[in-house]
């Protein structure tokens, strides 16, 4: 679709530069991840640990790496956290390579691939804590900060460019530069101020606020202006994938940001590992973003997204409401009847359960009406159509009605209706164009 794709397999300087950078960046990331694995291995193997504890006494960078792995082996995160972290990294790297395999010449895919490799390194807590188990040298902290900035910027631009590879809005390039420059400057400035203690906060500001907000704004703009169904679905998919990250990012930054900043100076220069609890919660949520981008770029199950979002919202609300009801009933029973324990629990459980199904329908209805006008309308349309069917005798009018109902409910890009009449075949063809949300 994009210019790169259309001009065949000719390699340009830009392509060579991309691949050189991508390979270097990936190798760097994998080395950092490998250091974490070294720490885990040293935890499991005494002879390996002993060899590291010897090597760390020598000189050169090898001694430093050995020292890091030895130290890391004594301060590993929980097995669950390690397993999740490496699964996250592995998944992101594989997804990045897969994306380049499938859409290697697409600009958005390339940016995203870099971003995903970056987050594979930046978000891996075991690897990061191994890297930081010794206070960082100047260039190490430059490399670490640089890698995070690259990941944040490529991610942000991938989210903005997704899916057609052009910046929004469609302004002249100087105007775009003016619009985006402050954003880039803020990210870089934040990254340079980042130190051991504030790193989790900085990562949350990058990947929980700056990046997803830029992405969500661009995608909201895109789906308002979408001219095709594909564009519409892509924008919507990504928008919804970004919302949870923004929620968690905003929550952590507002509740813990000032405390983290206030205490950052006190741990500065002391080589102290930062508190990573916030990141542990954030990571799985953020995972939605690369998955959505991947799906959007290779157009896998693009059409299911509304349903997934809808279901998630509905069941989330239903669970919340039933739990609320459950506890409300529980408390009420405790107040009213002085019987302890089982009875009130049983009653409130039954109450919550019986509330669940009608509640789900109510909420589904409300959500559909509020956010998914078309779906709600579709039901109405079909009902109207079936009632019309009974009265309508004119075939042509009926066909028109059917076509209208189909377009309104299913929103296809075009509709073809074949009718077997007496004198042969009658055919309408109508191609849907324009904003679907009308």
């Amino acid at each position: 679709m994009t210019a790169e794709q259309s001009d065949g397999a000719r390699w340009r300087v830009r392509d060579v530069m991309f691949w050189i950078f991508f390979v270097a960046y990936t190798v760097g990331g994998i080395l950092v991840l490998a250091q974490g694995v070294g720490g885990i291995w040293a935890h499991l193997s005494k002879p390996f640990l002993a060899s590291l504890q010897l090597k760390e006494l020598g000189t050169g960078y090898g001694a430093r790496i050995a020292s890091r792995m030895a130290r890391a082996s004594f301060q590993l995160p929980s097995p669950l956290s390690i397993a999740f972290g490496y699964a996250f990294s592995f998944f992101n790297i594989v997804l990045a390579l897969g994306l380049l395999w499938l859409r290697g010449r697409d600009r958005t895919a390339r940016l995203l691939a870099i971003g995903m490799v970056g987050t594979a390194g930046v978000f891996n807590l075991a690897a990061q804590s191994a890297y930081e188990s010794l206070p960082l040298l100047g260039w190490e902290s430059v490399a670490q900060t640089g890698a995070a900035v690259v990941a944040a910027l490529t991610y942000a631009f991938a989210l903005v460019l997704f899916a057609d590879g052009h910046l929004v809005p469609r302004w002249r390039s100087w105007a775009l530069a003016v619009l985006y420059a402050p954003f880039v400057a803020i990210i870089v400035a934040l990254a340079l101020r980042m130190q051991e203690a504030t790193r989790p906060l900085a990562i949350l500001i990058f990947f929980g606020l700056a990046v997803p907000i830029a992405g969500a704004a661009a995608q909201a703009y895109r789906f308002r202006r979408a001219t095709t169904q594909v564009e519409y679905a892509q924008a919507r998919l990504l928008f919804w994938a970004l919302v949870p990250s923004i929620g968690i990012g905003a929550w952590f930054v507002t509740t813990q940001g000032s405390h983290l900043i206030a205490t950052a100076a006190q741990t500065a220069g002391r080589g102290i590992a930062p508190d990573l609890t916030a990141l542990r919660i954030f990571m799985p949520v953020f995972l939605l973003v690369p998955i959505a981008l991947f799906a959007g770029l290779v157009r896998f199950r693009l059409w299911d997204i509304d349903r997934v979002v809808n279901r998630t919202v509905v069941y989330g609300l239903v669970t919340g409401a039933s739990l609320g009801l459950y506890f409300a009933v529980l408390v009420l029973f405790h107040r009213l009847i002085p019987i302890k324990g089982d009875f009130s629990v049983a009653v409130s459980t039954i109450g919550a359960m019986s509330a669940f199904i009608p509640l789900r329908r109510r909420i589904q209805d409300f959500i559909d009406r509020r956010f998914y006008r078309q779906r709600y309308d579709a039901q109405q349309t079909i009902e109207t159509f079936s009632s019309r069917l009974r009265d309508q005798l004119d075939l042509e009018a009926l066909a028109f009605e059917l076509r209208g109902a189909t377009v309104r409910t299913m929103q296809p890009s075009h509709v073809t209706l074949l009718l077997k009449g007496d004198g042969g075949t009658m055919e309408w063809q109508w191609t849907y164009r324009g904003r679907p949300r009308e």
């Binding site: 020598g58 040298l137 100047g138 260039w139 006190q266 220069g269 102290i272």
Partner: protein, 419 residues
């Protein structure tokens, strides 16, 4: 910008090390940060190293918070000869085995020919010992405020014939540490030379042997193995103590049992007297261990407003709240003057002056540091004790606070105070 410069320096260093000549390098560690607990060791690892003329010895200092030097020269060599009988005593029973009073002849020798990095009485660095000084003959200035001349501060190759060859205070270069390199001159005469730390004294020391070229010297691997063995020997008792303390089962040393009991810091668990309290630094009652644990144990604490919070303090530390960015115990200014961080000693935020003890007083130093209102920088100042101290503070405002020791960078903890 600084980071960019560092990066290019690292690249240049890497490039130059690849092109280097055929001479060998041996590494000696100055102090060590243990993998499992924050520590300082008043040792060189290993304390014996052999090289050939033309080789290089890299003294790699880990910044634990303790200042060190590598002090050598013919005056140091003669010093070692005088100390020989005491080294034997020290090897058996540590400082406790040494005579109470410093022998007069040794004191006189030190005054006449050597320097110190720091003067305990004036609480100030001695410039003649804290600044680098390399003399082919004669002694460093006897006036403590007079450093060696700038010309004598340029480091020549080590010949073994220089009278005084002192690194001075090896400065803080960030928490990763710093190196001090001794290039052994290619015409150095074979022989064994003494090196010691002129801050911690002649028992933090080692020997550098310049072997004739015809004789083989141990490889770096062998040197590292020897170093590791010494580290592990020193660390083993500390590691046991550290594990016990983190589990809340630190056994009170027999000789301080009475005084600890009087302070209500003892509970009996399984018939053993266990320290019942928090720790600010930890050591062991073992004459052959020259290391300490520099950590708050536990690292995160919960307390009520107005509650008396007490730490058993082993070693010299401060307890400080709302601390500024880490600042080392001593710094070197542009003109080379070495000065002590004034923030260390002075109590801040209304804390009283810490209680001092006479040298012979072996009872615990009980220091009530008063109250802190939760605002601004607050510090006890450095608290010294001959055996151990018990430091208490009350906090009058609920909140989550970071506390730290101003000397030892890894000593940081979190305290949550609730109503």
């Amino acid at each position: 910008m600084k980071k960019v410069l560092l990066l290019s320096a690292a690249v240049a260093l890497l490039a130059s090390s690849c092109v280097g000549g055929s001479s060998n390098t041996r590494t000696v560690l100055v102090d060590f940060q243990h993998e499992q607990f924050a520590s300082s060791f008043l040792n060189y690892f290993p304390n014996r190293v052999s090289v050939h003329p033309g080789d290089t010895v890299v003294f790699r200092q880990t910044w634990s918070g303790e200042p060190h030097s590598v002090t050598m020269g013919t005056y140091a060599d003669r010093y070692a000869k005088l100390l020989a009988p005491f080294f034997k005593l020290f090897a058996k029973g540590g400082y406790a085995a040494l005579p109470q009073e410093e022998p007069k002849n040794i004191k006189a020798y030190e005054d006449k020919y050597l320097t110190n990095m720091f003067d305990e009485n004036s609480n100030k660095p001695d410039q003649n010992g804290a600044q680098p000084c390399f003399l082919s003959r004669g002694v460093a200035p006897r006036n403590v405020n007079k450093p060696c001349s700038k010309a004598n501060q340029k480091q020549p190759d080590f010949t073994g014939r220089q009278s005084y060859y002192n690194s001075g205070f090896i400065p803080y270069e960030g928490p990763s540490g710093d190196t001090y390199t001794v290039k052994v001159s290619s015409n150095a005469k074979p022989g064994t030379h003494f090196f010691y730390c002129n801050y911690h004294g002649p028992f933090m020391s080692g020997f550098l042997t310049i072997a004739p070229r015809s004789k083989k010297v141990p490889s770096q691997t062998t040197v590292s193995e020897a170093a590791r063995k010494e580290i592990d020997k020193q660390a083993a008792p500390l590691l046991t103590a550290f594990r016990q303390a983190t589990k809340g089962q630190f056994v009170v040393p027999q000789d301080s049992l009475d005084s600890v009991e009087q302070q209500g810091f003892v509970k009996t668990v399984n018939g053993k007297p266990i320290f019942d309290g928090w720790f600010a630094g930890l050591g062991v009652d073992n004459p052959n261990v020259e290391g300490t644990i520099n950590e708050f144990i536990p690292k995160s604490l919960h307390a009520k407003v107005g509650q008396k919070l007490s730490w058993v303090m082993i070693g010299s530390h401060t307890i400080s709240f709302n601390v500024p960015k880490y600042f080392p115990i001593m710094t070197v200014s542009k003109d080379g003057t070495v000065s002590r961080n004034p923030k260390l000693d002075t109590p801040a935020g209304g804390a009283p002056k810490p209680k001092e003890q006479s040298d012979s007083d072996q009872s615990p130093n009980i220091d009530d540091a008063g109250t802190w209102n939760g605002n601004g920088f607050w510090s006890t100042g450095v608290i010294d004790s001959n055996n151990f101290a018990v430091v208490s503070v009350r906090i009058t405002k609920p909140g989550t606070y970071k506390f730290a020791c101003l000397i030892h960078p890894p000593m940081v903890g979190t305290l949550v105070v609730t109503q």
